[in-house]
Symmetry: C2
Subunit: 146 residues, 2 copies
Amino acid sequence: MFFLEKAYEEALKALNKDEVPVGAVIVKGGLIIGKGHNMRISENNPLLHAEISAIQDASKTLNSWRLDGTTMYVTLEPCMMCVGAIMQSRIDRVVFGALDKKGGCVCSNLDINRLKLPFKIEYEYLEHEKSSQILKDFFKNKRKGK
Amino acid sequence: MFFLEKAYEEALKALNKDEVPVGAVIVKGGLIIGKGHNMRISENNPLLHAEISAIQDASKTLNSWRLDGTTMYVTLEPCMMCVGAIMQSRIDRVVFGALDKKGGCVCSNLDINRLKLPFKIEYEYLEHEKSSQILKDFFKNKRKGK
């Protein structure tokens, strides 16, 4: 749970910017080499999900576009774009703390390992209560107009 | 074919950088508001496919992360990451000039309209001979070690 906690700390940064609170870290050899949080609205960039931001950060750290041998920990099941980005950057494994029944594309809306794509990803859903709770609270407050 | 030709001109820019030659343009009301080419290796960024680059460009042009009412023309069928990015940026429609049997995620490896995702995209495969030929030639030359 240690690295999911670290991803959750990233989600808190998104929350502070009134962004959908999702965070991610990328780990290699026990060290965090990249981190990111959702900054879609604050950066006016539709692509800046937590995962994308973390991948860009890790690529800078390693000075390489290939992130072989790394694991991404992310608070929410990645969407189609982010699953594809994880494949494109050759990340080996993704661990997520909450399921996204609506848009998740690891196991909820499609099972990535049943597709015959050139890249495979190992994945694990490791329930992390705070990761889903922060999202529930965020959307509840939005509906209340807070 | 006019806008696929424009996308092809972008692919030529990638070729000049020895990148896999794929190009894209985004059109709104008959005007090109964003363009991009594959710059993955030259920019050391695993995410910089032509489509992603074009989306970022169009977001700057419109000063918005929402690209509603636009069409993307791209020389090659988008991969999973790019299909997801097209959805995330609310692009209405994508037209591509060549199929990607290996990694394409619009109709080749999965049919996006059969998934129950929150966003739908219209798509059209409009065969554009030069768009596939430039890729065949690129990989043939790579295999020859040129």
